[in-house]
C-alpha cells in the first residue's frame, strides 16, 4: 500500500462521514463535503467529456496529423490557428496535429458543431445568452427526431405486441411460467391502467368501475416500486459501510475509526457551545 492510497483513504473517510453527519443535523462537515463535491464534479465532468469526445472526435477531425508537409495557403492558416492553440494549451494541442485515426485531411464539416459549441460557451456571459440557443436547438431537434420513433416503436407498439399474447398451448394457471390466467391479468391490467390515464371522460359509472380496477394495478406497481426503492437504498448503504470497514483496517491506519471519533468529538463541542449561546 503506497502513501497516496493511504492518504486517499483518509480523505475518502472524511468526506463519507462528513456527508453522513447530515443525519445528525446540518453542520460544517457536511457543508465542506457538499461544496467540494460540487466543485470537483464540475472539473471532473469537463475533463471526461473533453478527453473522450471533444479532443478525439472534434479536434482529431479538424486538425488531424497531415500527410507530409502542409501545403497551400489556406491549410497553412488552418494549422497556424492550431499552433496558436497549441501555444496556449500544449497538453490539448500537441505539435504536428492530433492523430486519432480520422485520416490525414481535415473534416471541415465539423466546423459547424465547433462554432455552435463555442457559441454555447459564450452564452455564459448574460449579454450573449441567446447564443446557446442554436446549439441547444440542434440537440433538441435531434433528440425529438430520435425519440418520436423510438418511443412509439419500443414503448407503445412493442408493449401492445407484448400484451396481445396467445391463449393457446399453455396451462390455465401457473405461478412461475406463462399461463392463460397470467396473460389475462396483464391484458386487463394494462388496458384498465391505461384507461385510468384517460382524462377526457369523467371517471363515473361503468367507466369509473373500470378505471378503479386500473388504479388497483397501478397501486400494486407503485408498491413494488416502493419495495425496490427501499431495496436499492439499503444496498447503497451496505456499499458505503463496506468501504468504511475496509478503510478502518490496519492497512489504512484505522482511518474510519479515528475520523469518526474526531468528528463526533467536534460535533459534540459545537452542539454544546451552541446550546450555551442559546441559553445565554
Amino acid at each position: 500500500m503506497n502513501g497516496s492510497e493511504i492518504f486517499g483513504a483518509w480523505v475518502a473517510v472524511f468526506l463519507t462521514l462528513g456527508i453522513f453527519s447530515y443525519l445528525y443535523k446540518d453542520n460544517p462537515f457536511y457543508k465542506i463535503a457538499e461544496h467540494v463535491f460540487v466543485g470537483v464534479s464540475a472539473g471532473y465532468w469537463m475533463s471526461m467529456f473533453f478527453w473522450t469526445q471533444i479532443q478525439p472526435n472534434l479536434f482529431g477531425r479538424l486538425w488531424p496529423t497531415p500527410d507530409g508537409a502542409i501545403a497551400g495557403f489556406f491549410m497553412k492558416i488552418w494549422y497556424g490557428i492550431y499552433n496558436l492553440f497549441g501555444f496556449i494549451l500544449p497538453s490539448v494541442f500537441p505539435d504536428g496535429g492530433i492523430d486519432k485515426g480520422h485520416g490525414n485531411h481535415p473534416h471541415f464539416l465539423y466546423i459547424i458543431p465547433f462554432v455552435l459549441g463555442i457559441m454555447m460557451l459564450l452564452s455564459v456571459s448574460s449579454k450573449f445568452s441567446w447564443m446557446a440557443r442554436l446549439g441547444i436547438a440542434y440537440t433538441v431537434g435531434m433528440a425529438a427526431g430520435l425519440r418520436a420513433y423510438a418511443f412509439l416503436n419500443s414503448n407503445v407498439l412493442g408493449q401492445i405486441k407484448g400484451t396481445a399474447v396467445s391463449f393457446v398451448d399453455m396451462p390455465f394457471f401457473s405461478l412461475t411460467g406463462v399461463s392463460v390466467f397470467n396473460n389475462l391479468i396483464i391484458l386487463v391490467g394494462t388496458i384498465t391502467g391505461l384507461l385510468y390515464f384517460y382524462f377526457s371522460k369523467e371517471h363515473k359509472g361503468n367507466f369509473g368501475k373500470v378505471t378503479r380496477v386500473g388504479i388497483y394495478f397501478l397501486m400494486i406497481s407503485f408498491g413494488a416500486s416502493f419495495g425496490f426503492a427501499v431495496m436499492g437504498r439499503i444496498s447503497l448503504l451496505i456499499g458505503r459501510f463496506t468501504d468504511l470497514i475496509t478503510y478502518g483496517s490496519s492497512t489504512y491506519n484505522y482511518a474510519s475509526l479515528w475520523v469518526l471519533l474526531l468528528m463526533i468529538g467536534l460535533l459534540a463541542v459545537w452542539t454544546f457551545k451552541g446550546n450555551k449561546e442559546v441559553a445565554s
Binding site: N2, G8, V11, A12, L15, T16, F20, Y22, K31, H35, V36, F37, G39, V40, S41, A42, G43, S47, M48, F49, F50, W51, Q53, S91, G117, L121, V124, R133, L134, G135, I136, Y138, T139, G141, M142, A144, G145, Y149, F151, Q159, L175, T176, N182, I186, T190, F197, F217, L218, M219, I220, S221, A224, F226, G227, F228, V230, M231, L236, L237, D243
Partner: protein, 342 residues
C-alpha cells in the same frame, strides 16, 4: 431577432425532421449523415453543454465569493475543488511511469525498487530475476510528478540498472490506473457521490415508519405489494414458511370480517375456523416450507413482479411513450418552443 428566434426554431425543425426521416429512408447519403455525422455533432454539442454547465456553476460560486454572500467560504472551497479537478484533467498530467529495461546486479536494483513497490528485497529480486531477457519491468503505480519519477530513475541508474521515465499520453491519463485523475476519482468523487445517494436509505426508512399509513384499500394494496417484494426478494424471505403467511392471511381476513359485520362471534368463528383448517392441512402435508407456492414469499413475489406489476408498469410505459411521441412531434413542428424560453 432572426438569430435569436427564427433560426433556432428552424434548426430544431429541420434537424428533427431529417432525423425522424432517417429512420425510414435508405438513401445512403442521408442515412450516413443522419446516423453517423449528425449523431457525432450531437455528441460534440452535448459535451460543450457540459462545459457550459460547469462554467455557469463556477460563475455562480465566484459571484458568491466576490459579493461575500452568506456561506461564501464554502463557495470558495467549491472553486478550490474545481481548480483541483480541472488541473488533474488538463494541467497536471499526474501519471509518469518508470520502466527498468536492464540491470547488472538484481540484488542492488532490488534494494531501490523494493521500497517503491512495497515488497521486501528478496521478493523484488525474484521478480526481476524471473523476467525474460529483453523485457522491461514497469513499476505498476505511476508517479504523480515528473520529479518523483525521475528521482527513482536516477536511483536505479545509480544502482547499476537502466531505467527510464515514460509520461502517459494526454487523454489516456484519465483512464490510467494510479494517475492523479484516477486518484481524485477514487478518493474524492467516489465517496462523495456514493454517500450522497446512500444517505437516502435513512430517509426512506424514516418515511416508511412515519408516513406509510393504511388509509384506504388502495394504500393497503400498495403496502402489501411493497412488503411482499421487500421480503420475497431477499434471502430471508425464503426462510419464512408459507404456513406462517397463511396464518397471517387468516388473521387479516378476520380483521376484514370484523370491520364488515361488526360481530364478535362471526369474527371469532372465521379466525378459529381458518386457523383450524390451516393447522389440519399442515399436519396432513407435513408443513413443507415452500408449499403451497402462492403463499411462499419468493414465489409469490415473483408472480406479482412478473404479472400484475408488469401490467401497471406497462400502462405507465405506454402512457409516457405516447406523451413523449406527442411532445417530440410538437418540437419538430415548432409548436413547442420552451428551449428558447417561450
Amino acid at each position: 431577432m432572426f438569430m435569436k428566434r427564427q433560426l433556432p426554431i428552424a434548426i430544431a425543425a429541420i434537424i428533427g425532421f431529417i432525423t425522424l426521416f432517417g429512420w425510414f429512408v435508405s438513401e445512403p447519403n442521408i442515412k450516413s449523415f443522419v446516423d453517423d455525422d449528425a449523431t457525432q455533432w450531437f455528441d460534440i454539442l452535448a459535451s460543450f453543454a457540459i462545459f457550459l454547465g460547469a462554467l455557469n456553476l463556477l460563475k455562480l460560486q465566484a459571484m458568491k465569493v466576490m459579493k461575500q454572500q452568506k456561506g461564501w467560504p464554502y463557495a470558495a472551497l467549491a472553486i478550490a475543488g474545481f481548480l483541483f479537478s480541472f488541473s488533474a484533467g488538463f494541467i497536471l498530467l499526474g501519471s509518469y511511469n518508470v520502466e527498468i529495461s536492464q540491470y547488472n546486479d538484481p540484488a542492488k536494483v532490488a534494494t531501490v525498487l523494493a521500497s517503491e513497490i512495497n515488497l521486501d528485497e528478496k521478493s523484488t529480486e525474484n521478480i526481476l530475476m524471473a523476467m525474460p531477457e529483453g523485457d522491461t519491468y514497469t513499476i505498476e503505480t505511476p508517479y504523480f510528478t515528473k520529479n518523483g519519477a525521475e528521482d527513482v530513475v536516477e536511483k536505479i541508474n545509480a544502482a547499476g540498472g537502466t531505467a527510464n521515465m515514460r509520461a502517459t499520453e494526454w487523454g489516456s491519463h484519465i483512464s490510467t490506473r494510479g494517475s492523479l485523475f484516477n486518484w481524485m476519482f477514487r478518493f474524492i468523487f467516489t465517496p462523495l457521490s456514493a454517500t450522497m445517494f446512500a444517505l437516502l436509505a435513512f430517509f426512506v426508512a424514516s418515511a416508511s415508519y412515519r408516513a406509510f399509513k393504511i388509509r384506504n384499500f388502495e394504500a393497503t394494496l400498495l403496502l402489501v405489494s411493497g412488503i411482499i417484494i421487500m421480503l420475497g426478494r431477499v434471502p430471508i424471505g425464503g426462510n419464512i414458511s408459507a404456513w406462517f403467511i397463511m396464518y397471517i392471511v387468516v388473521l387479516s381476513i378476520g380483521a376484514g370480517v370484523n370491520t364488515w359485520f361488526k360481530n364478535r362471534t362471526i369474527t371469532l368463528a372465521t379466525v378459529g375456523g381458518g386457523i383450524l383448517l390451516v393447522t389440519i392441512a399442515g399436519f396432513i402435508t407435513g408443513w413443507p416450507i415452500d408449499q403451497p407456492g402462492i403463499f411462499y414469499l419468493p414465489v409469490l413475489q415473483d408472480w406479482i413482479y412478473n404479472n400484475p406489476n408488469v401490467a401497471g408498469a406497462r400502462a405507465i410505459m405506454i402512457g409516457i411513450g405516447l406523451g413523449i411521441f406527442a411532445t417530440s412531434i410538437r418540437y419538430i413542428l415548432g409548436i413547442e418552443k420552451s428551449y428558447i424560453g417561450e
